[in-house]
Amino acid sequence: MGLLLVAGFAAAFVCDTFNLADQYLAQIIMYIGINVILTVSLNLVNGYMGEFSVGHAAFMAVGAYAASFFSVSVFPQNPAFFPLSLFAGGICAAFLGFMIAVPAFRARDDYLAIITLALIMITKSVLENLPWFGGPQGYHGIQKYTNLSGVYLCTIASIMVIRNIVYSNFGRGIIAVRDDEVAANLVSVDTKQVKILAFVISSFFAGIAGGLFAHLIQFINPRTFSILKSTDILLMLYLGGSGTIIGSILGAAIWTVLIEALRFLGIWRFVFAPVALVMLMIYRPLGIMGGREWRLFIPKENDHGRKK
């Protein structure tokens, strides 16, 4: 497996340096990677923890704007500083996540959806009205620093981090919160702390994805990060099946490709896609993976069951 990952990186790196990949194809692959990061990180909160957050677009926006700000105005215009800008974007998103999580988790479950919904709107309005980020016209002058190998590394890293969290002691605490919060408290899980930390981690990765996204399309404006963006991420999550890593990956990949493949339908693809989703919910309500995890993601010493 490790060898395969290295080979994947080598392939991405070679494609980058010698400009081998078809522009369009490379673009789609990078979109897939970014969407995988978004979906896997949302999965931590909406899937494993069983809360319902719709705020991922806002964290992505903060990550995108912050990373762009750092790469355009703070650091010298050099791709070598791009990882730092990305990281800074992630930290800003994580900080916003913390600011939201502390009050949001004082309230009970459904309020998180409302609070994060408000967050999207507030973030969008704030970005539209801050003059030094271009306001509604959008942020210009972002260099194209995102490449195949960068996206590859970030995607693999976020999958590995989330996967390791889910099967750690802390991850068991997250799943315990979903199953029975009161009982989780009774077995000494500080549920409030667990929820806030999981939410912050999830926001961080959304911020990273936002930074990658901004430096891929080189132009961002507040409208990009509306409720529709959050809806997209939620769709990818539930398409693949929440609560499994492989579900998030498949959901993100399939949805991204599907939307591209249906481009010939023009505006009608936005009719087709929801209909397809309704069909999926009827015939496979648990998503494509139906709650099953890919064996490779399950640690050997701690088999997640399913010896039915």
């Binding site: 029975d180 009161v182 009982a183 009774l186 000494s188 997640h304």
Partner: protein, 233 residues
Amino acid sequence: MLVIENLHAGYGPIAVLHGVSLHVDEGEIVTLIGANGAGKSTTLRTISRLIPAASGTILYKNENITRCKAHEIARRGIAHVPEGRGIFGNLTVIENLLLATFANRTRSMTSPVINELFDMFPLLGDRRRQLASTLSGGEQQILAIARAFAADADFFIMDEPSMGLSPILVKNVFSIIADINRRGKTILLVEQNAIMALKYSNRAYVLENGRIAAEGRSEDITANEELKKAYLG
């Protein structure tokens, strides 16, 4: 070990406990009995701080724990096996047991510790890699008790451990409780099945409308004709 003095508590504006005082000594099994709505479960929930106490004090090992948070109380070694078991269905049996030491850095769940648990609860050993939601009701109850035991708690609070179990399983669960007690654990029990609970416990308190109406050794409570008529049927 546990001393409760003049405890008042309830749900929002509805007061349920009107000054409950009781104590549980080390190594004892103590039963709370009483009619539905007398405040048995409320007493247990107030001890583990699932609901806050309005007034009164709860001392555990001579420390005031009245204002501690629920997870802090669990970390002090009070294990509450809640009504309806509270097992985590999306985790495997073994993961449920691992969660017992979530915050306990001194006791790690090495394989000898886990194997010892499975020796004690052989039923769970066969199902260790199964999701807890696929267990039967009796197995889930045993898992909940095993999890409390795995946490290395000294004090067990058990809310209706026999609820929804067949008579043979009820016996099984009570023999497990007796076994845990023999291993030096102190137990505070609430049971609908009062006769069974009194048979296994040392002392009992009778709760009535949020107050202690009677207390005594379990044999005396069982022998008391008046109480028998009112609570034991």
